[in-house]
């Protein structure tokens, strides 16, 4: 029997009325969807670890869809940091990918034969789907995707039991062929008249009121680790001098003291050899958890006009500069490259996704 699907909407921080409308319209539409329960929380990334928002999310045990103003990976691994685990549910509502870029990404994956932290974890028995509200501004697209995900839940369960108590989705027009596959009348009766609230009726008339969690508190800033990429190499713990990172009981890296992190500083993310460290609120898409460099936002970027300085040539230099700035702000001495910078081969350029992407774009422009 199908379980309920919980849809969590993580609100944006912005007062932008268009964003608020999109959130509320999605919620309003989902209230009438059978089998879907909606919970609204403030911005997922800002939730306090022991606050009501996170406690509520921890209480959700079944399959879950989280809709937020963050990249899919950022939302997923922010949940993970708070002990909310699940198998990766694949959403079809994603950013459009340039085919050339997709090839590039796949090539990279094939090369990687390394052991990732996530590989050694026990598998979860539920799915978490993460939808990014910046992908589309059309309410219908989100509602349809959630309907698709909700429909995905049912067939899997039916296969396990070999029973077809629910009308099949392709055959759901009241067109009963009477194929019961060994279902006794008693079983069918129990199915038709459920006695518990995990039952998903096909004809919910009244809307189910959403759960709204309010939480006060400021905006937070801390890294989240993508353990499907992390190899536990410890470069971040060596590089960060503010005590953000630690290790757990089995010596796996973790963000131990998130609130020690220096607001605005993404330096550890730049030194991570696997691009596994995400700062969901950083302006650079690759640091904020995007797999793909976004094709510029819909809005005009005025940063150049408002005093944006020239960029550092590579990520390691930027990271060292950012760390020194934070050390000085904290009243400590700058350390430059003398601490926590692994010696790489001199001719091997530092990992810098942005620069690589520039190169790819330049090749595209050659029109070969």
């Amino acid at each position: 029997m199908a379980k309920k699907l919980t849809v969590v909407l993580s609100q944006g921080q912005s007062q932008n009325p268009a964003k608020r409308n999109l959130e509320e319209e999605i919620v309003a539409r989902l209230l009438f969807e059978p089998g879907i329960e909606v919970t609204i929380v403030p911005h997922l990334y800002d939730l306090k670890p022991d606050g009501p928002g996170m406690l509520c999310l921890e209480g959700i045990s079944g399959n879950m869809v989280i809709i937020s103003w963050m990249f899919e990976r950022a939302a997923r691994w922010t949940l993970d940091r708070n002990g909310i685990h699940g198998k990766i549910g694949t959403s079809l509502l994603t950013y459009e990918v340039d085919e050339d870029e997709l090839d590039e990404l796949e090539d990279e994956e094939e090369k990687a034969e390394k052991q990732r932290v996530a590989d050694s974890r026990p598998p979860s028995n539920r799915y978490i789907y993460c939808l990014d509200l910046r992908v589309s501004n059309k309410v219908d697209e989100y509602v349809e995707e959630i309907q698709r995900i909700a429909a995905e839940q049912t067939p899997q369960v039916m296969q396990l039991g070999g029973l077809t108590l629910d009308p099949s989705p392709s055959n759901g027009n009241g067109n009963s062929n009477g194929e019961m596959f060994g279902v006794t009348p008693l079983q069918q009766l129990r199915h038709d008249h459920p006695t518990n609230d995990t039952y998903v009726g096909a004809n919910h008339e009244a809307p189910i009121e959403p759960i709204r969690i309010e939480e006060t508190g400021g905006r937070r800033w801390y890294p989240v680790i993508d353990y499907s990429r992390c190899t536990n190499c410890m470069e971040c713990i060596d590089f960060c001098l503010f005590g953000v990172y630690g290790v757990d009981g089995i010596d796996t890296i973790l963000v131990e003291q998130p609130d020690n992190c220096r607001k605005g500083c993404p330096a550890c993310s730049r030194v991570c050899p696997e691009n596994a460290i995400i700062f969901p609120q950083h302006k650079t898409p690759t640091i904020a958890g995007s797999d793909i460099v976004a094709e510029g936002g819909l809005k005009i970027d005025l940063s150049q006009l408002f005093g944006k300085p020239a960029e550092d040539p590579n990520a390691a230099d930027t990271a060292i500069r950012e760390r020194d700035e934070q050390l000085l702000l904290a009243g400590r001495d700058a350390v430059g490259a003398s601490v926590g910078m692994p010696k790489r081969q001199a001719d091997k350029p530092a990992e810098d996704r942005d620069e690589l992407d520039d190169l790819i774009d330049a090749v595209d422009e050659l029109d070969i």
Partner: protein, 152 residues
């Protein structure tokens, strides 16, 4: 204030700049106060941004700032931008009223819509006349930037 302002024409749009204060290249005005300089967006900046929806600081007050250091982010109906420190010094205050409701930036940019206060040397700040000369110089680039991004 309106009687004592310089005017710059952004195309057909008239922007006004009070002469009782100084200006910085990142399109902020500066008024010397007790805690250093108080800064806010100029009419030029607000015209480019239009309705401000979201303002976020990546620094806390008080803290030391380097000139040109990234200090925040702004999102409006038409644009978004990172924000940078107009001068080096001690950031003493971020306007608390703007965090929950940044619309004062549009309603009263030269008054209650101020942004932050920095205590530091203001010798690079410009007079209103110098700022207008600066605007005349960057207006072409500004238009090219906007058009260039719109054509993408």
């Amino acid at each position: 204030m309106s009687d004592d302002s310089l005017v710059f024409m952004m195309g057909k749009f008239e922007t006004k700049f009070p002469t009782d204060r100084q200006y910085a290249k990142n399109h902020t005005w500066a008024v010397r106060g007790q805690q250093g300089y108080r800064f806010g967006f100029t009419a030029y900046a607000v015209r480019l941004l239009q309705d401000v929806y979201f303002l976020e600081w990546s620094v806390d007050a008080p803290s030391a700032l380097r000139q040109g250091q990234e200090i925040g982010f702004i999102e409006s109906s038409k644009a978004e931008s990172d924000l940078y420190a107009p001068l080096a010094g001690q950031l003493t205050t971020l306007n608390p009223a703007l965090l929950s409701d940044p619309s004062q930036i549009n309603l009263d940019m030269y008054g209650t819509g101020w942004l932050y206060e920095i205590d530091g040397p203001g010798d690079q700040l410009m007079s209103p006349e110098e700022y207008l000369t600066h605007l005349a110089g960057v207006w072409e680039i500004t238009q090219r930037t906007i058009k260039g991004q719109l054509n993408e």
